[in-house]
Symmetry: C2
Subunit: 222 residues, 2 copies
DNA sequence: CGCCTGTTTGACGACAGTCAAATTAGGTGG
DNA sequence: CCACCTAATTTGACTGTCGTCAAACAGGCG
């Protein structure tokens, strides 16, 4: 949170739980510009506000005592985060890209029918996405998981630059933590997909080009 | 725990996707009494209604083409199901026990502030539960998964008959499909926990007795 | 009492994880 | 602009957990 006007101040906040001291809570529908990899909230934080992603992307994750991490949601524009659990947040939330969020008080839901409709719609598609995710984590092989994720990113990206090239907003480790795999398995799987011609290397190493959506969809089992 | 008084009407509906024809859509807050293992909705069904579980329990699941199944939610009293995806349901829903559900039209949300508050609260804890579930599926070992589930059932049951005995509303196959394991692994793990004294056999085979919540919680990593 | 289904147990194999090292990318300062 | 340094990615070899296939066993219901 809470770096207000984006850029400048870059408190180092390298992922795992370096606590940020927040700026004082903002007003209804307060806009929040955040740089890449900034914390939005931490588990245990007061959950009196939730967030709507306007641009960019955020990830919501949980940590176990021993350091295992699971990214439980990746939220893209139009999605909601911070509406889970009781009166404190149940997970951590961090930007993956420079993002604009809009924060609301829970109580605002009662006031605005428009907001409520947007939130309900957001939650509905979010729950469906979590169903997809559960199927992936519980029942898909490593290759199916990777293909499923690439496909999802492709479909989101295809709105923007539709030449089949996808810039991952995620590191290998993050992909692994989202897919319930290790980073080595993710590497091996992606390389293998390249070798087999389903993907092609992009200009930058973090980019990838989809060769055949059909074959990818088939390999993803969905 | 759990067992209601199994009602009368028993339309045969043996699990996987034998389509049920529903009673004609009911009014706002229509009560729905269902026996054990009755379909509530199927994927693709018109999602003009959602359901609040009043008693009993339901499971929400997805099937892949090749028959792999993942149970994505188990919903207990107070929870909501059927609010996911777009204008058709994204998953199947079936009772695990004789249950009483209450169905509402989506539009009802706009009318009743009381309903809205209950639904938002329900969705929030449901999303947190799905976060738990994702962590389990993505990052926990077979033993941790089984312990986590037993612990959750224990905590729900402990409100009712608090002697540590849990009657599973789930078959081994269903436990496996919820935990992302095979039924053999579930069996082996439960037997192992018994051998190691974390659990004790109940009177019936489908029951289990928790020996030490502490040890169980430790083995569950949560 | 006997069938049918669900559960338990066993033997074996494979997919993904672990540990470790080599290679590459990206960022910084000269 | 280039050299260097660190962090990220890739590759390799080996291991272990869990899945698969198969058979024995138990329990519930007619």
């Amino acid at each position: 949170m809470f770096e207000q006007a984006a850029p400048s101040i870059e408190r180092k906040n390298s992922s795992l739980h370096a606590r940020a001291q927040f700026a004082p809570a903002a007003r209804v529908g307060n806009e929040l510009k955040l740089a890449k990899r900034r914390a939005v909230f931490y588990p245990g934080d007061d959950a009196d506000r939730f967030y709507e992603v306007e641009s960019g992307a955020v990830m919501v994750y949980r940590l176990l005592e021993d350091g295992r991490r699971q990214i439980v949601e990746i939220v893209f524009p139009g999605g909601i985060c911070g509406l889970a659990g009781g009166d404190v947040h149940d997970a951590a939330c961090e930007t993956l890209l420079p993002s604009v969020l809009r924060s609301y008080k829970i109580a605002d839901l009662a006031c605005s029918g428009l907001l409520r409709a947007r939130v309900v719609a957001g939650l509905k598609s979010q729950i469906a996405a979590m169903h997809d995710h559960a199927v992936m984590l519980g029942r898909k092989t490593a290759e199916e998981r990777v293909c499923t994720l690439i496909l999802r990113l492709y479909e989101i990206a295809t709105g923007n630059a539709a030449d089949g090239t996808i810039a991952f907003p995620l590191s290998r480790t993050e992909i692994a933590d989202y897919l319930g795999l290790t980073l080595e398995t993710v590497c091996r799987t992606i390389c293998d997909l390249r070798r087999r011609g389903l993907l092609e290397a992009g200009v930058k190493k973090s980019e990838v080009r989809v060769q055949s959506v059909e074959r990818l969809r088939h390999a993803a089992s969905c």
